[in-house]
């Protein structure tokens, strides 16, 4: 672009007369003021209308109730904890990756085409719409490209216990622990019913389909009269094809029914998770949600960390290198401590973006109505923005009030995040140059 010819431009103005130019000047000032005022007014109108509508919803019960069909009994306990889980996973995965990338690109990478390409690539990733990341998260995390079966029937399961559920002679449901879920077919030929005095005893062979053989260790559920379940490990004593006697560690009992004809089939099979349960594919779990948000904020974390590292004066680096430190020693001792306030500010702002994201999680199939707090990485979840979307999309005004209440909570959380970021920027940032 060429620099404009000033004489020509201003001279043309002079011909119109000074009064006219002064008027134009004043009109333009008012025009600019109006634009700015309108922008600020919109902000206040937005905040005001939401506070007016939602203030009454924000009560103690609002934080302690799950979502419900009944607006007056609805709350944000589910989405609030969902947001906490998802954002924690997002932070744990995105921050090390993003800051590591920034350190490599700023401190280690040679200035060559590969580095230039990675930088350009990160710039472009920052411009990708978040819903596209949602689709990638759905395909790569929730479904894993279909490589591990469907999300409702995952192939790889870690940290689960399995139970066959039988109906006892008294019509109660009795659960027998088994080693794995049988997909199709009836492994339960070996399930043998036994009873002794006060106990209903169910024995299941640990190895599916294999006949019950002598001295096999079996897990036995003792279903006592008072309803409590007692687990015992027992050794089966087998003669021929029939089971005659088995002893548990603290109880001994007879096995009465022996033939395959009397064997029971489970009415259903159940799965119980533990705190470390993981299954592949991840399905619409908090883990998949957190990792999807990681994709969304990763470019933001990288770019802000790069800027923080770039702001560190190079004299610090040169000093460290001159004293004989390696690159990593220089980064660890000089650059990173100097850049940490900037990096933290950027990280907090990125996290506040993650808290507000709804579209990628909507695509992922984040459950719109969740009645439990997430318990492990595989739990179903919803987050605050999704709950807001759900309530805002309903026609009833009472749900709109709930949405506005949830928005107030969301905005307060964001305000706190931004406040921390500003605090760090003001207090911790030292002038190093």
């Amino acid at each position: 672009m060429t620099i404009p010819n000033l004489t020509e431009i201003v001279g043309r103005g002079t011909l119109r007369g000074n009064a006219r130019r002064a008027l134009a000047n004043r009109v333009f000032l008012w025009f600019c003021l109006m634009g700015t005022t309108l922008a600020i007014l919109v902000l206040f109108a937005l905040l005001f209308s939401i506070f007016l509508e939602g203030w009454s919803s924000v009560t103690w019960n609002f934080f302690d109730n799950f979502a419900s069909r009944n607006p007056s009994a609805s709350g944000i306990k589910g989405p609030l904890w969902g947001s906490v889980w998802v954002c924690a996973i997002c932070a744990i995965s995105a921050l090390p990756l993003g800051i590591g990338t920034a350190i490599y690109l700023e401190e280690f990478a040679p200035r060559n085409r590969v580095t230039g390409f990675i930088n350009l690539n990160i710039m472009n990733l920052a411009g990708v719409p978040s819903i596209v990341y949602g689709i990638i998260g759905l395909t790569a995390f929730a479904r894993m490209f279909g490589g591990f079966g469907s999300a409702s029937d995952p192939t790889v399961l870690l940290g689960y216990s399995y139970y066959d559920e039988y109906e006892s002679m008294e019509g109660e449901v009795v659960r027998v622990k088994v080693s794995a879920i049988e997909r199709d077919g009836d492994r339960v030929e070996d399930g043998v019913q036994a009873s002794l005095a006060r106990w209903n005893i169910w024995v299941a062979h640990p190895a599916p389909r294999a006949p019950l053989i002598n001295n096999t260790q079996v897990e036995v559920l003792l279903d006592s009269d008072d309803g409590s379940d007692v687990w015992r490990t027992a050794i089966a004593h087998v003669e021929g094809t029939s089971v005659e006697r088995s002893t548990a560690q603290s109880a001994s009992f007879d096995i009465v029914e022996v033939s395959a004809a009397n064997a029971m089939k489970p009415i259903t099979q159940s799965r119980e998770d533990s705190w470390w349960s993981v299954s592949l594919p991840f399905g619409s779990s908090v883990l998949a949600g957190g990792l999807t948000l990681m994709l969304v904020i990763l470019p933001v974390v990288i770019i802000s960390s790069q800027e923080a590292l770039r702001a560190v004066p190079s004299s610090l680096r040169q000093g460290a290198l001159a004293l004989g430190s390696t690159r990593w020693q220089m980064v660890r001792e000089m650059t990173l401590p100097a850049a940490i306030p900037g990096i933290m500010t950027g990280a907090i702002l990125a996290m506040s973006r993650a808290i507000g994201e709804a579209a990628p999680l909507l695509v992922l199939g984040g459950f719109l109505l969740v009645f439990a707090v997430p318990e492990n990485l595989m739990s179903d979840f919803t987050v605050l923005p999704l709950q807001i979307y759900n309530w805002a999309g309903r026609p009833q005004a009472s749900f709109h009030a709930l949405a506005a209440g949830a928005i107030i909570v969301q905005l307060v959380v964001l305000l706190v995040f931004n406040g921390i970021a500003v605090f760090i920027r003001q207090k911790l940032q030292k002038n190093l140059s």
Binding site: C32, L33, T36, L97, I131, A358, A403
Partner: protein, 305 residues
């Protein structure tokens, strides 16, 4: 002693190398993400075009988008693109003039105290989650529009467009202001010395000099507007149609994807696959806007450094 030192140096070299490679691995992850995006969108779009009901000619040639309703399905992407562009243009009509005048005010007129108040206030707008704008559009902007003209339905393009305009306002404003402020002071001084008023200096000297930066800010803001999801999903409606009427209900590309993934369509069906093709179109559009914007911004930066 010397042995210990040699060993520690070797260990240091190894750990240095290990750290270097793991950091390189981290930075390569971003390339991998791009690769994954391209592969997923390309593969699933390819599968979509493999369905009998679909042809690539129809996808880019037909103006009928009717993937869900009974009868014959039609997959012509233009109604969705048209809906997206209508909403985006309305957003631009709202955000570009206001954003630019606010930027000119902040850069040329406001003293440092006013700036210190106004700039953070505008940045607050940038931090508000988009679903909040969607709610605002639905509960405040739409009723306002309906009180102006009864032709506006409960869902309409203008309401969503204005909400998106509010959302991209801070992007336009702060990027344009950066561009205006990086115009060298000597240009302004020269114009003042020749007797120019503030109006003359701002409109005839500073804005033209910063034009490429301003255009870049427009393009980046448009890219955000095209990809915006929650506002249109809440306020724009769900009828895919070719229309330029601002009070009409339109479906954008992003709103269509939300409709599909919220469970309106059976998995592995043609409707489901169509959302990947729509996502690919969306990705290409936003990438185009971003690339052109970055290109202009880069050229502009070289000008004054």
């Amino acid at each position: 002693m010397s042995f210990g030192r040699a060993r520690s140096r070797r260990w240091r070299d190894w750990s240095e190398r290990g750290i270097r490679w793991s950091l390189f691995g981290a930075s390569f992850f971003s390339v991998f993400v791009t690769f994954a995006i391209l592969v997923v969108l390309a593969r699933e779009s390819y599968l979509f075009f493999g369905f009998d009901q679909v042809s690539i000619v129809e996808f880019f040639g037909s103006t009928e988008w009717n993937p869900l309703l009974g009868g014959t399905q039609h997959f012509g992407v233009w109604p969705l693109v048209c809906g997206t562009m209508l909403v985006t243009v309305i957003a631009a009509c709202f955000a570009l003039p206001i954003g630019l005048t606010a930027a000119v005010y902040l850069s040329e007129y406001a003293d440092s105290k006013t700036r210190a108040i106004l700039k953070p206030a505008l940045e607050v707008l940038a931090g508000i989650p988009t679903v909040v704008y969607g709610f605002f559009a639905l509960t405040a902007i739409t009723p306002l529009l309906q009180s102006i003209s009864p032709r506006f339905g409960n869902y309409n393009a203008t309401s969503a467009g204005i909400a998106i305009g509010i959302m991209i306002l801070p992007i336009v404003c702060s990027l344009s202001e950066d561009a205006l402020r990086s115009v060298p002071r000597s240009l302004r001084d020269g114009a003042y010395a020749l007797g120019g008023t503030k109006f003359d200096v701002s409109v005839k000297v500073v804005v033209p000099a910063a034009l490429s930066g301003i255009v870049a800010s427009f393009l980046l803001a448009m890219s955000r507007a095209i990809g915006e999801t929650m506002i249109v999903a809440l306020a724009a409606g769900g009828i895919a149609q070719m229309t330029a009427e601002p009070w009409a209900e339109v479906q954008t590309m992003t709103a269509y994807m939300v409709q599909i993934f919220l469970g309106d369509a059976p998995a592995n069906g043609v409707e489901y696959a169509s959302s990947y093709a729509v996502a690919a179109v969306l990705f290409c559009m936003t990438l185009g806007f971003t690339l052109v914007g970055r290109y202009i911004l880069k050229r502009f930066r070289e000008e004054y450094e």
